[in-house]
């Protein structure tokens, strides 16, 4: 299913100047993988060496930090919104 991803202005350069993009997947991890497939330069920014989510970013599902959910295994539903920010912005 399609899920919206939103990023702050400083990360728009990762998505060809857009602050909203669509991705596909049944989980947050699959959605991130879909983004990496659409924007190949993102792989090292969004994923770690094992295909997990890079710890340099904080990922939110509908505002909730996925570290407090099921991380990359967190299921997504139609209408959900994923947010991505630099991890240091959370401090």
């Amino acid at each position: 299913m399609d899920v919206m991803v939103r990023v702050p202005s400083s990360l728009k350069k990762w998505f060809e100047g857009r602050d909203e993009v669509l991705c596909q997947g049944e989980t947050v991890g699959e959605c991130i993988g879909s983004l990496v497939g659409s924007f190949p330069g993102l792989k090292h920014r969004l994923q770690d060496g094992e295909g997990g989510i890079n710890s340099d970013v904080l990922v939110f599902l509908n505002g909730e930090n996925i570290q407090g959910l099921k991380e990359g295994m967190t299921p997504v539903r139609p209408g959900d919104v994923i947010g991505i920010i630099p991890f240091a912005a959370g401090g």
Partner: protein, 173 residues
């Protein structure tokens, strides 16, 4: 009211009651304990250019004055040493009231929804935590200075965890 002291990295929005000794870490009229703060306190994260955050702050100030939002702080300049290229605004509130606060933020064009609990933030600033260690590296502290910084963080933050029943006292920034 907007508190903008040029010597501070942060610009704050408080209710004036704070200056007569009242706390903003309150839920239903009762001051939060350390344990309640760790369970419920947190913030919505808003990123943007300084000019836009100044605008958002002015727009949100009435909500702070009306005590719909307990406290806001935002960067005077981006914390590039920590790897953040934009200024960050933190809109603090109790998790049990965060939906109400989010609705206010949405009225002011905040789109990206990101909630970070104070517990998560404190864990990042504990010795060995990712933010504290990045901050130490960014300051080029030598080993002794780094150990002092870690001990300072440990003593301040561990106290919160070790005394859950005491009333939480927001730290000076």
């Amino acid at each position: 009211m907007i508190v903008d002291h040029p010597q501070s990295h942060f610009i704050f929005l408080y209710h004036p009651k704070v200056f007569s000794g009242e706390k903003y870490t309150v839920y239903e009229g009762k001051e939060l304990t350390n344990g309640e703060m760790l369970e419920y306190w947190g913030k919505w994260i808003v990123l943007g250019k300084r000019e836009w955050l100044d605008h958002v702050a002015r727009e949100l100030n009435p909500s702070v004055e009306e005590e719909k939002i307990p406290c806001i702080k935002y960067d005077r300049a981006p914390s590039v040493n920590l790897g953040v290229e934009e200024c960050v605004m933190m809109v603090y509130c109790d998790k049990r009231e965060r939906d109400d606060v989010w609705r206010i933020l949405r009225q002011h064009e905040v789109m990206l929804k990101a909630w970070v609990s104070e517990r998560e933030t404190m864990e990042m600033w504990m010795p060995g935590g990712r933010l504290l260690e990045r901050w130490i590296r960014s300051r080029n502290l030598d080993r002794a200075q780094a150990d002092i910084a870690r001990e300072d963080a440990r003593s301040r933050l561990c106290y919160i965890f070790d005394h859950p029943d005491e009333v939480f006292v927001p730290w000076e920034q």
